[in-house]
Subunit: 548 residues, 2 copies
């Protein structure tokens, strides 16, 4: 569609924005509303502790009040090094209620990375869980900024770390006013969060999200995940990852219950599923394989429907089928930190259930159509910015346009400009557009393998490997080659019980199922390096392949 500016009409005269009819969109009003309508509903479960929505709102206001007491206000950064605990949920509401910006840090980062982020974001406050105190202490020695440190002591799962000069989180919150008159954003374009992307080269980039997008993600998630009744949500996805895809805010729309989980372990997950009647969880393929490969003593029976919302790398078809057989519903979403987490959803058409298993699997691995909150999605040739043919074959770059795209990268105008060029956000992911308008990822730009002039999708080769019963994890990267430029090189982690399966067996399996030029020339067995969020670290494997 077009957009056009036109002269004023009768509908433009004396019909202006005033406070009665125009307020900034923000997810903060969702929590206030939940506390009003459902004060006694359990908002948070953490070990043996329970917080109602009235308590959750009061504690978030106390946190906001206490931060204001430190003279923090609009646009000040509050960094948090926390696991999936009540403090992290309170930070998602209390920090922006003080006008501040929440910078949730990956708890697996090393001290120099944390120091860089504290400096780059000009952090005024750092909230740290005792578990991560050693890293924080080292980072603070390296950093130029001197944020006020607040130490969170998890009474349910006591940790031992200490930090000099820190305040105690509970005392800090207790000092705040539970009736604090919190700050609405001055503008819905104001920042609500800052999330650093784990770039594989150079310094991380700081993705700035705004209140408008966070509020719209609340609605978008609710629709994409078909949540209507009060959900019970299990926290396996780290909240430092795209603000837990915005679920800390989303759940307030329907007074959902957050089930915290300090450590993502199979027995703990099944216990929560059985005891708290979990209905939704988000996770990477690694969480799926933990659930599927749990031992009989770890597993627990459940009768409720559970919607597993999966994203990150497109999961192998075999794993998806196993999840369905284990009684989970699946919602496949896709996005980036720059799009607040998911911005597309594989809207499942009921008629696809009647397809043969293989065709059904081919439908399942597609990333789908835009979220209702995303205005446009396209696969474009980045050189011409024209759509590639919708033939399911022609490769282009996946691009997004709309209100759930970040403000930009903090203090990085060139990167922001590059990312937003030509009216679209450039994802860096390569994909195809199917004739029915569903997109499918083929690879990250940097993961594509170019062999003898042919583009080889590492994902396609991986999906083939995953169909073999011996394969637990697979990753395919480019190996430099004098003749072909590059050739595919596979790294495979085998399931136990399949020790006898050989490199030749798996390469032969690929030859039986793929065009010859797509097949890996080398195949290496071993444990694959993964990020905290379960993504396989291909850059490490690429280094390894280079040395083979």
């Amino acid at each position: 569609m077009r957009s056009k500016t036109a002269p004023a009409s009768i509908y433009d005269l004396n019909l202006d924005r005033v406070p009665a009819n125009f307020q900034p969109l923000t997810p903060l009003t969702f929590l206030r509303r939940a506390a009003l309508a459902w004060p006694d509903v359990t908002a948070i479960i953490h070990g043996s502790r329970r917080f109602s929505y009235a308590q959750f709102y009061a504690r978030s206001r106390q946190l906001a009040s206490a931060l204001s007491g430190l003279d923090l206000g609009r646009g000040d950064t509050v960094s948090a090094l926390l696991s999936n605990t009540p403090a992290m949920l309170e930070a998602h509401h209390g920090v922006p209620m003080a006008g501040c910006v929440l910078n949730a840090l990956n708890t697996r980062l090393d001290a120099p990375a944390v120091a860089f982020m504290l400096d780059h974001s000009e952090a005024k406050v750092l909230i740290v869980d005792r578990e991560f105190a050693p890293c924080a202490a080292a980072a603070l020695r390296l950093a130029q900024v001197k944020p006020q440190v607040i130490l969170y002591d998890d009474s349910e799962f006591p940790q031992s770390g200490v930090l000099d000069g820190s305040l105690d989180y509970e005392s800090f919150v207790a000092g705040g006013d539970p009736d604090f008159d919190w700050l609405m954003p001055a503008d819905e374009w104001d920042a609500i969060s800052l999330n650093y992307t784990s770039g594989t080269t150079g310094n991380p980039k700081g993705v700035v999200c705004h209140h408008r997008g966070a509020a719209l993600m609340g609605y978008g998630n609710t629709l994409a995940c078909r949540i209507s009744e009060r959900p019970v949500y299990l926290w396996t996805l780290p909240m430092f990852h795209c603000n837990g895809w915005c679920f800390p805010w989303t759940l307030a729309l329907l007074a959902g219950t957050h089930v915290c989980l300090r450590w993502t372990r199979p027995a703990d997950m099944y216990a929560a599923i059985a005891e708290h009647k979990v209905t939704h969880l988000c996770g990477a393929p690694t969480v799926m394989s933990m659930l599927l490969n749990a031992t009989a003593t770890e597993k627990r029976a459940f009768r409720q429907r559970i919607n597993f919302i999966h994203a990150a790398a497109p999961p192998p078809e075999a794993m998806l089928l196993a999840m369905l057989q284990a009684g989970f519903d699946l919602t496949h979403v896709y996005g980036l930190t720059e799009t607040y987490g998911p911005a597309t959803v594989n809207e499942w058409r009921p008629e696809w259930n009647a397809l043969p298993e293989k065709d059904r699997g081919a439908k399942r691995i597609r990333q789908g159509v835009p979220y209702s909150a995303l205005e446009a999605l396209a696969v474009l040739d980045p050189a011409t910015m024209q759509p590639v043919p919708a033939d399911g074959q022609s490769l282009g770059e996946v691009m997004f346009r709309g209100n759930i795209v970040m403000k930009g990268y903090l203090k990085n105008p060139p990167a922001t400009q590059d990312a937003m060029e030509g009216g679209w956000f450039h994802s860096g992911d390569l994909g195809v557009m199917h004739p029915d308008g569903y997109i499918q990822l083929k690879d990250r730009s940097k993961d594509i393998i170019i062999s003898g002039g042919e583009n080889i999708s590492s994902i396609e080769v991986e999906n083939t490997l995953y169909r073999h019963p011996a394969v637990l994890f697979a990753a395919v990267v480019a190996k430099p080659d004098e003749k072909w430029g590059e050739t595919p090189c596979a790294f495979v982690e085998k399931k136990s019980g399949f020790e006898s399966v050989s490199e030749t067996d798996l390469i032969q399996f690929c030859r039986d199922n793929l065009a010859h030029f797509n097949c890996p020339r080398r195949l290496i067995f071993g444990d694959l390096p993964k990020t905290t969020t379960g993504k396989i670290q291909k850059f490490r494997l690429r280094e390894q392949a280079r040395g083979l």
Copy 2:
């Protein structure tokens, strides 16, 4: 909460709105998305006709294209005198896709009223159903404007009216381009619709709604009515009434099916419920009583859950209980044309199901808490603009603030300013705030009866009357009185079979259940005058009472 403008922070620099990250909010993208994700799902059922989402979107684009072909564009008014037919649904999307503003007219208006609205809105096009051609012809003779008339011929339910110089709707649409590159609003504050309120004195006021609010209502309705799976929606609420409370747009979010209904008749409603497996409908208490009082041959059994979303006048408790017994779920919402329809919802707390019937009834008739899309709701003393005590007793004016409040009244700055004064939209409805934060209406300002210095809520007296088995409809108005100023006067429509119940019986029933001063002094039997949407026309009864 407060809002505060502060100096620029690092989050304000080089992080501007650009097309990639900022697009106008509009419900028009919902239909495009539905046509993409669910092209073959049935969007509209009308008699024996079916339109898929692909067809619905294509036809809406054709309509937009054809309107553009008449040289219409941004800010031009397209009026529609249509019943709940596919053409009316197409108008809700196609008219704004041409940049125009949809002015849906009440089909029961008389010609002078229609002429006033055509002139006041400067209508460029008038789409008319043959059924209403006589009224339109008379109105066009009276009006100053000369809109192009387009006549809709309902092939399923043929009507005979004709209009000179009119185009045929189907030919007009067929002349448009199904791939038309439709207009996004230049700004989300652009008008999408104009709805005239049926004022009881003076000229009607034109309520202007914007794209931003219409989009947010889509999300708000979905959440308030707990719609997650694909709904099947029965049209009993006229679409000319607050744009059918925005459901023509809402349903596109989840590819719901619209079941059109030219005439709201019990047998037709039950047939649709049984045959199309209706899951949702909106309606006034009159629709409820039609369903409840249908004859055995009109009624049809159904097994699905049906959510009846009721608004307008607070319905009598007895009717609500009967609906629940008949197998309907209930969602009680409240709002005004100025708030796009519903802006509050009585969020039902499960623990209330355990209350004694009378207490449960008292909870049911409350109007509730704000919609998720409404930023604030209050009961204020209009003189001081301070909240009344939240004691369930102190009367104040219900006021709204947020993004689902209209732009204002067209060409009426004084009325707009009055309505928006002090940062709140003044509803003109009197209510109380309960200690738990739920509001309850007591009366329209003009409906309150002041007797010997006491405020009498006409609604309270009506609710008491409705508890009597003989009462089908009841309305209580003020009758001027020399001694008391005013006294309550009741008008009652009796159910058949209760002919022997007398005026004295019902007044005695009131005395047994109400404080003495609240009881009607006079009680008149007869049919009550009602508007198209089922509201009892109290201004007529007030005139009648004055003459008694």
